[in-house]
């Protein structure tokens, strides 16, 4: 056994060297048309060797290490305790949530403009993740092209305001409904497909939308995007220093306060907050409604659900459409926040990030998804010095999460009865 272990360990460490040394140890440098090769500095080479040694030692003493890890006490002792009574937990939860929302309402008045801006972005991601949670977490349909609906929402607002001068408040429902329509039209034919085929088709659809946006230069401006998207107004009051549109007044003049750029940022934040809370509440309702139960039933066992008379197409289509609707919502807010959009914002990576938020939070769990959205958006901002390693860590975290805790940080809990095993 020992000799076997040793051979395996040696093999693994050699593989580690092979996959890391050529790529990390040599740097290609392009000078004009000529490419030259330079060796990396000594510290990098030492790191690579060190990694190989660590892999070797780990594989050699694998059984012992895993044994020790398993005998360690569980890091979260509470997890083995009896869960709280369901109705008490629900009561505490609703109080805590209300408290957080109230806090979030007043919070922007005391912090810097950058923080509020970031918080708006977090709220947009929360909306997106809650929407995708319906599709992936509840209905179990893997959608890798979710960003396409986000793009539909954003571009709808941008184009409507550019060509027809439509304001944010009118564009919000139009954008969301148009995105939902896209979801319906795409979903109708493809939802018959099996899980992973569906994933690829939605990915392809996302790419098609992006390529179209990129190349339909006459309408969308192509890679240059669309700029000058107006800010939302409050009952006809604008937040700029000067009023841009006839008939509108400006916010600071109406209330007789000094102009400040922060008003606009805070106002956008509040809109995003209200919409995010609205999204969460609506989806929460849906989850308790028959259609929500049907989503989950279909996810758990399609054949059993169909034999009980659920229409597969109708149930899946409703999840897909509702998910797309909220993506359109988020897209409109995003366009208004940025003031400028281009196809660059709607690449596949964005879909992957939203998916990662849903998976990280625990598929189906709303609170988990909200927490994950906050973590995924804010952590990279805090760790600016690691920003180049951001996506590397992100990818690795996705893999590790699937290996160690596929149910997510806060898996969804349902009222259920567990049958006690007879002793």
């Amino acid at each position: 056994m020992a000799a076997n272990n040793f051979r395996h360990a040696l093999f693994c460490s050699i593989i580690t060297l092979i996959i890391s040394y050529p790529i990390i140890g040599f740097n290609l440098e392009a000078q004009g048309i000529n490419v030259t090769l330079t060796g990396a500095d000594a510290s990098t080479v030492v790191m690579v060797l060190l990694a190989a040694v660590i892999v070797f030692l780990f594989q050699l003493f694998r059984d012992q290490i895993m044994g020790t890890l398993r005998s360690l006490p569980h890091p979260l002792p509470q997890s083995s305790k009896e869960p709280m009574a369901e109705n008490r937990r629900a009561k505490i939860e609703s109080w805590v949530l209300t408290g957080i929302v109230v806090l979030a309402l007043f919070w922007p008045f005391f912090v810097s403009r950058g923080a509020v801006d970031l918080a708006t972005l977090v709220l947009i991601y929360i909306m997106l993740a809650l929407g995708l949670n319906v599709v992936v977490g509840l209905a179990g349909l893997l959608d890798l092209g979710y960003v396409a609906f986000y793009a539909v929402g954003a571009y709808t607002f941008a184009l409507l305001s550019q060509y027809l001068g439509i304001s944010f408040w009118l564009a919000l429902p139009i954008g969301a409904l148009l995105a939902a329509l896209f979801g319906l039209v795409l979903g109708f034919p493809v939802l018959r497909l099996r899980g992973d085929y569906l994933a690829i088709v939605t990915l392809g659809f996302g790419e098609i939308i992006r390529i179209l946006l990129n190349n339909w230069t006459t309408l969308t401006g192509g890679p240059n995007g669309i700029g000058g998207i107006p800010d939302p107004t409050l009952f006809g009051m604008e937040f700029g220093r000067r009023v841009k549109e006839e008939g509108n007044t400006s916010f600071h003049e109406t209330f007789g306060i000094a102009y400040s750029g922060e008003h606009k940022v805070i106002f956008l934040y509040l809109i995003a907050l209200v919409l995010a809370v609205f999204t969460a509440l609506v989806i929460r309702r849906f989850m308790r409604m028959p259609v929500g139960r049907a989503w989950e039933a279909l996810r758990e066992d399609e054949i059993a659900a169909r034999s009980l008379g659920l229409s597969r197409t109708a149930v899946k289509l409703s999840a897909f459409t509702i998910g797309a609707f909220f993506a359109g919502f988020a897209g409109t807010v995003f366009a208004s926040k940025q003031g400028f959009i281009s196809p660059e914002s709607f690449v596949f990576l964005e879909s992957a990030i939203i998916l990662a938020i849903v998976v990280l939070g625990g598929m189906g769990s709303q609170i988990g998804v909200v927490l994950a959205a906050i973590a995924v958006t804010i952590l990279p901002e805090l760790a600016r010095e690691f920003s180049e390693y951001r996506m590397l860590i992100f990818g690795a975290a996705m893999v590790l999460m699937m290996v160690w805790r596929p149910q997510g940080l806060m898996p969804m809990r349902r009222i259920h009865i567990e049958l006690k095993r007879q002793e």
């Binding site: 790529i23 490419v35 034919p189 497909l193 659809f205 790419e207 596949f348 590397l392 996705m398």
Partner: protein, 307 residues
């Protein structure tokens, strides 16, 4: 005559690209045939193969070696070794621990791996695209002097010949060798093969290694053909190759070859007769249409839903 020449030119370009798609598609189709998952990181393995080949070529040039066949063979071997090791390691780290869980879990793990590998190369080699030296240039020209000239470059001939060799070797390997037979057995029934004494873990690793090696060949060939590499170029190529695999019927090796060729020709016809920008749209639309009307692909076997 002019039109015919133009058409043949598009056909040749399409077959060139298509045969390399087929090489990558085999990796997808073999893995899917055996463990039923989409190896999303396969495109990145292909990209790493291209990078390794470029590193080997530049290294050899720096050493002063100029004999072309030696350069090509060394680059090919390096790329195949590094890519295969990568394929093995990826399976071991990201796929084996999640095998047998819910369908979405290996897929998400694979997406994570794909992002990881992209950024791994991005960090090590920079995000700019790097020129790939054109080692094989020149070719034949057909057609009259003033009209459209059809060209068949030596590079394209090399691609055809290399792909042909690889495909023949793979077919022989699958149909004749002991491991190949085991591969077929495992793809028919994993549990039963296990009972009959086949080390299924080894066979699964072997499919990843073989797929990665073929992707590395494609990496070298396409790198030279396009003349540049960058860390993102595996993503789209991987998607195209997956389309090709689905087109031919996923799980079927001859299907992957056929699908690659059809996709390549469809793409080059689109860019030849319509517009180059929309060729990706065409291939994805093709994918969607195939999945809608013939989900088993051209040569795939229909799948029976068991209760």
């Amino acid at each position: 005559m002019q039109d015919l020449l133009y058409f043949s030119q598009q056909l040749i370009n399409g077959l060139t690209i298509g045969s390399t798609y087929a090489l990558i598609a085999i990796g997808y189709t073999m893995v899917y045939g055996i463990i039923g998952m989409i190896n999303f990181a396969h495109g990145e393995i292909y990209m790493i193969g291209a990078y390794t080949a470029l590193i080997a070529i530049t290294g050899l040039a720096a050493l002063g070696i100029a004999w072309l066949p030696l350069i090509l063979i060394v680059a090919l071997l390096c790329a195949m070794i590094v890519s295969s090791s990568m394929g093995w390691a990826v399976e071991r780290v990201a796929y084996r621990p999640v095998r047998g869980r819910h369908r979405l879990i290996p897929l998400i793990s694979a997406i994570g791996m794909s992002i990881f590998l992209q950024n791994y190369v991005h960090l090590a080699q920079g995000s700019r695209n790097i020129g790939f030296p054109a080692l094989i240039d020149g070719g034949f020209n057909f057609g009259s002097g003033d009209g459209f000239q059809m060209s068949l470059s030596y590079m394209q001939i090399t691609i055809f010949i290399t792909t042909l060799i690889c495909m023949t070797a793979l077919s022989l390997f699958i149909s004749r060798s002991r491991t190949g037979r085991a591969c077929r057995a495992v793809s028919q029934d994993l549990g039963m093969a296990n009972l009959l004494g086949i080390d299924t873990n080894r066979i699964i690793s072997a499919t990843f290694v073989i797929g990665a090696a073929l992707a590395a060949v494609a990496g070298l060939l396409l790198g030279m053909y396009y003349g540049s590499v960058d860390p993102l170029f595996g993503f789209i190529a991987g998607l195209k190759a997956f389309t090709a695999a689905v087109l031919g019927g996923i799980g079927s090796i001859p299907g992957a070859m056929l699908g690659g060729l059809i996709l390549g020709v469809a793409e080059s016809m689109t860019s030849g007769y319509l517009s180059g920008e929309y060729k990706d749209v065409i291939s994805f639309s093709l994918l969607i249409l195939i999945l809608l009307f013939k989900p088993t692909g051209l040569l795939g076997k229909p799948e029976v839903e068991k209760i």
